[in-house]
């Protein structure tokens, strides 16, 4: 009998252990392997979630441990859902989400399409393009803060060069109209390469023979693009949208560095607002209700989206 790794492992198992294990069913052995993971999952994910749900019905404050929390029923939820300021935060988040995803998909796909063509220096360009996503968001935030500086910032000077405007006549981060776009620009600059890489993977997965068959059928390049390229890359694109959507819904560091949520509350995304409620105002019960509402929103939207993604894959 040849010695396989399994037989070697069986031979090396001490007799006492082997006797004990021999009596166990496959299901029991499976539980032994899976058990620690399930325990950890319950301890660090499920239990805190249940605890958060419980806290959301109280007026508990984590900085007032000597005060007995009171049961307030649905009051926290009612307050949040009827608070016009929170709806403004939701709108700011939706604006940020929509436009960052729109530009990242558009530019990311275009870049991937160009990079996918074989040309000299292809690899070098790919490396250069993906550089921004390798940087820390805090660094990127500080870096762009200087670029947007009205008196010495390069961004303002470039805009001034093309428009003839005075560079210090507009403030990207200080203007209510421009600040939401300034964070969209930075996030797009940073994360378009990520979308590009996913699209590139999609483009490279399309077999050449499909295009060759289309050529034989005398299909134009435009037709090939819309009937072959787009449908076959679509699942990848949708995956990129899902990743970026989830990431940007919880966007915090970049925006805090750039605008701190300002001017006023113009760029105060829900994640920033939630952090202020939970860890600056210490309204733990209220913040728990807020977190649950956001969780349900993201979970609901993501579920619908994943179903749509699966349908596209099945086609």
């Amino acid at each position: 009998m040849s010695k396989t790794p399994i037989t070697r492992a069986a031979a090396a198992t001490p007799v006492r252990v082997a006797r004990k294990v021999r009596g166990l069913s496959d299901r029991a052995i499976a539980w032994i392997f899976v058990g620690p993971t399930i325990f950890l999952l319950l301890a660090i994910n499920i239990f805190p979630l249940i605890w958060t749900i419980r806290l959301s019905f109280t007026n508990f404050k984590a900085n007032r441990l000597n005060r007995e929390p009171e049961w307030v029923g649905l009051r926290n939820y009612e307050r949040i859902l009827t608070d016009s300021d929170i709806w403004l935060n939701m709108q700011a988040t939706a604006h940020f989400l929509f436009w960052t995803i729109f530009f990242q998909v558009l530019i990311g796909f275009t870049l991937a399409y160009l990079i996918n063509k074989k040309f000299k220096g292809n690899d070098l360009w790919t490396t250069i393009i993906v550089l921004p996503m390798m940087l820390s968001p805090a660094v990127v935030g500080n870096f762009w803060k200087f670029l947007y500086q009205p008196q010495i910032g390069l961004f303002n000077y470039i805009v001034a060069f093309f428009t003839g405007k005075d560079p210090s006549s507009f403030e990207m981060l200080g203007s209510v109209d421009l600040a939401p776009w300034s964070i969209v620009i930075v996030d797009t600059w940073m994360w378009t390469p990520f979308v590009m890489l996913i699209c590139l993977a999609g483009l490279r997965s399309i077999p050449d023979y499909i295009y060759e068959a289309a050529e034989v059928d005398r299909a134009s390049k435009l037709r090939q693009f819309f009937t072959i390229t787009i449908p076959m890359v679509l699942p990848f694109l949708m995956l990129a949208v899902l990743f970026r959507g989830i990431e940007n819904f919880k966007m915090f560091d970049l925006v805090v560095q750039l605008t701190g949520g300002g001017p006023g509350s113009t760029t105060e995304l829900t994640s920033i607002n939630l952090k202020r409620e939970a860890f600056e105002k210490w309204r733990t019960g209220y913040a728990s209700a807020y977190a649950i509402i956001l969780f349900v929103t993201v979970f609901g939207l993501a579920s619908i989206y994943v179903k749509a993604l699966n349908k596209v894959k099945e086609r």
């Binding site: 441990l65 009205p150 001017p263 006023g264 113009t266």
Partner: protein, 439 residues
Amino acid sequence: MKNLKLASVSALSIAAASFAQSAAAEDLTLCWAAWDPANALVELSKEFEAQSGHNMSFEFIPWPNFADRMLNELNSGGKLCDLLIGDSQWIGGGAENGHYVKLNDFFDSEGISMDDFAEATVYAYSTWPKGTPNYYALPAMGDANGWFYRKDWFERDDIKAAFKEATGRDLAEPKSQKELLEIAQFFQEREIDGKTVYGASIFTERGSEGITMGVTSALYPWGFKYENTPGSYDMDGAVNSPEAVEALEFYKEFYETATPPGYTNSYMGESLDAFKSGQVAMAMNWFAFFPGLYADPNTGGDKIDFFVNPPQNQAGSTLGGQGISVVAYSDKQDAALEYIKWFANPDVQAKWWELGGYSAHNSVLNDPGFKDSAPFAGDFLEAMGSVQDFWQEPAYAELLLAMQKRLHDYIVADQGTAQEALDKLVEDWTEVFEDEGKL
């Protein structure tokens, strides 16, 4: 044999002595904000180390993160700090949540009298409930929001003549808030030595406390009150009074017409940078920075002078400064109390002022030579005579963040009117006090 016995006894004595020394000597950690006075305190504390045998370590946190970091530390019962020089507004939470050790018995036993410290500082930094003889801190660092300006520009004949022509009066330190604005507007976008300069740097920061500290420097001179009757939490008509509305509109006009471009999120650091880089004619900031500003080789010395926050309807300055407390979670409370006892000593307080800290001890402040001891010393005394502080309630963070939002929305984001901003602020604060069970 006799020698052997003697040697053994000597060795035992040395060992016992060194053991006793090591048992008494503690490693104390003092937590504070990272700024100029903190460096002075490190220097000062060397004397304490030499006297007591304790080792001092310091944990200095940059101002924008100071409250977050330290309040998290206290709320989690952390043992990082044995001594904490915490902001004046934390005193309510520190006392009610049991973070700070009550110092009354200690003061009584060591003969430390609060009468030896400036009344305003004892009220603001040490007592909770406010004004009662319950002490949770020793006044450590007196401070208020003041102003400094380019004295060399103010003294130039061409600039003086231009100002006289523009306003009909002489260019001098402002005597009112409106004069302050007029001077700042005069300097706004003026060419000086071939460089465009701006009026003044003021506080507009959104994230922590900046814009509130700046705006209250206008609100207090207009006669702003937090409550109609102190202790009653009846804010409607006080917080949103016509005077408060006028002061808020004034600050917005200041921001829009007399500050450098892009000045939308600025606090202490930005104010200092703007002044030191020769960008502004005047700047607001805490007195704590004034020794460093005076010593600056480029814009200090003869080029700088200082003035107290100008009055309008009355004198009024925003209170800064802190008291030093013993953290209740510390295992080294005895050694920490030793530090407080040492720090309360009049000689140490005199040296504290000498090194750049702002002593609140009467022996220092009432010294006949104090006013002339630094170019800003007289202004400091004047400011401390009319200081007003923000809420010091345990829920101060909620109250502060609500004000930050309403002020920034109105002043920087240009949303709504001053009246609406203050009305909303009353609503926010009412909700907080209702949650607290105080309304």
